[in-house]
Symmetry: C2
């Protein structure tokens, strides 16, 4: 089993009010570069930030890495528009960072990126692929694409309280800037991505399309961002079997909507609960409180854990957290938030 991890950035993450609280915007651009280092090496290497929220919630990369250390699977990271250097090895497909979706064209090279990703996906010899993503701001661009495609749904958030109304207003502005109404891109998913998406979307969609075409089984590892990719694939006329694997944190927040969306886009849905509620560790408490929820292939990685071994993953997550400098302080983190200076010294995942 191989996890492909397209990683990229969009300036959409910098919009006030949709970014994760407490994160310094100039550091958020480092988050995907740090995530892929955590996935490759177990901790940030060249990246100047460790993506941990002010509350002590680590990036989902920590969970995906913990699973990898327990069950073992191949990872190949794809540069899908990173804007900061990373010491992780990346596949170069020539993608560029995305612009704020409130400009006319958010991903000018969406078509070319899709085509290159398609060829890459079609060339891989694997029988099965998991495709994840890391792109701060990605749920807002997912909402943008779903709205442009005329698909009624609601996206998730990395924040406990989803700033969904703020996201809707941003998407309204973004569509207006591209001279579009909701549903105007019906049947033209790459136009939707170009106008109001992010650079990770055409790479995920392209790899999935190419791999499906060559007979590879594809699971999109993520939550509502992958629902947007599934919508794009279906509207592109790709009708091969497709799966989505996500976390119980996304499924719980989404209620019936997630299953309905998967039915609408003919996707098999796998939801995995890592059992974090059984542990008194700050990182797992934060996930249970609704922070982060998903990303960096977390739900897909968790789906690979054999029955009876999730306890090992939780143990290993504590080890990974210690490496990332997250010390569990037996509940104190919930009553004693870190100081402001700590908060601004760290990056956090965007919404």
């Amino acid at each position: 089993m191989r996890l492909l991890l397209p990683a990229g950035t969009t300036e959409t993450a910098l919009i006030d009010g949709i970014s994760a609280a407490g994160a310094a915007p100039e550091l958020m651009a480092h988050t995907p570069s740090a995530d892929v280092e955590i996935l490759e090496y177990g901790e940030p290497v060249a990246s100047p930030v460790t993506p941990v929220s002010p509350n002590g919630c680590p990036t989902p990369a920590a969970v995906t890495r913990a699973v990898r250390e327990v069950v073992g699977f191949d990872v190949s990271v794809i540069d899908a528009g990173l804007s900061r250097p990373t010491a992780a090895p990346t596949v170069e497909l020539g993608a560029e960072p995305g612009s704020d979706i409130r400009v006319e064209s958010a991903v000018p090279d969406a078509n070319a990126a899709f085509d290159r990703a398609y060829d890459y996906g079609a060339s891989l010899p694997d029988d099965e692929l998991l495709i994840g993503e890391t792109v701060p701001g990605g749920t807002t661009t997912a909402l943008g694409v779903l709205t442009a495609l005329g698909e009624p749904t609601r996206v998730s958030s990395s924040l406990p309280t989803n700033p969904i109304e703020r996201k809707r207003r941003v998407v309204e502005e973004a569509l207006a800037a591209s001279d579009l109404e909701p549903g105007d891109c019906d049947g033209a998913p790459l136009e939707a991505i170009e106008a109001v998406g992010d650079p990770v979307q055409p790479v995920v969609a392209g790899i999935a399309a190419g791999a499906l075409e060559s007979g590879t089984e594809v699971t999109l590892a993520g939550g509502t961002q992958m629902v947007a990719v599934a919508a794009a694939l279906r509207q592109a006329g790709i009708d091969a079997p497709l799966s989505i694997a996500t976390t119980s944190f996304v499924a719980d927040e989404q209620g019936d909507r997630l299953r309905e969306a998967c039915e609408r886009f003919d996707c098999e849905l796998t939801v995995t609960d890592p059992g974090f509620d059984g542990r008194d560790h700050v990182a797992m408490r934060r996930y249970c409180a609704g922070e982060a929820k998903e990303g960096v292939g977390m739900g897909g990685a968790l789906s690979l854990v054999p029955d009876g071994r999730m306890g090992e993953v939780r143990d290993r997550l504590e080890t990974v957290c210690a490496r990332l400098g997250i010390d569990d302080d037996e509940g104190a983190a919930e009553t004693e938030p870190r100081t402001e200076s700590d908060a601004t010294a760290e990056g956090t995942r965007g919404p």
Copy 2:
């Protein structure tokens, strides 16, 4: 355990008479790009060539991949001057392809490449690293560096009959073009690499130096090319413990010279025999006949195989070979060489 694989090219590989027989020069530049795809995915993906000699001898990448499929270890590929695209993920350190050593400066950015590689090596959290290489022409540039450093030794070859005299004449020309005599770079290893080396050398040396400085155990995975790197490291004043792990094919060809060189440079030497002589398979017969011998971390990878499991590696190598289109024809390959058009349609490893 992590295998780091700096991969690059030098125009030195194109010099007539030192390249592997039968290889079309314009295809040889693809060899390292294909090697790292084999290591990552199990077969070439985007690369238009499969590095197999006209006799049916596969690149050592096939052996390293077979070991990886049996025992499992992490691989991170570093772009150390690739001149052709690869679909494998690579760490970017800004290295450029090397020039023919018979021009004044073969690796103009050797110092900067060493510094960037040093920082990368120092930043890695691993306790132990294997560092390999793939660079066609690499034994000639190794001879160049050893000669410039004034270190008496002899290098190996990927050919059954080592064109050592041809290499010596090339190195003489190369030194003259840089206005150097043998030994002129004594104590100045980066000057030697800049003048008559290849771009993989400062990356291997830099990573090793940085990793050693940060307390990581380092094994150089290769034959006489790694002897040249060890010489460079010692002449740079780095006296931390250092190991070299290579194949029995290099050790057999080198006789006492390899052990003497390792003593001279205070390197522990590990030689691993994969037991290919017990198999009647074209790939293993070609290795036993002295082709290829080493490269792409092969000797280091073989050193990771636990006692009693080498048979599994040989079995797996047959599987990898089948994937690469090498069909064993029960000895016919030795008496029925492929046609010329087959030979020119494939890349082969340089000397």
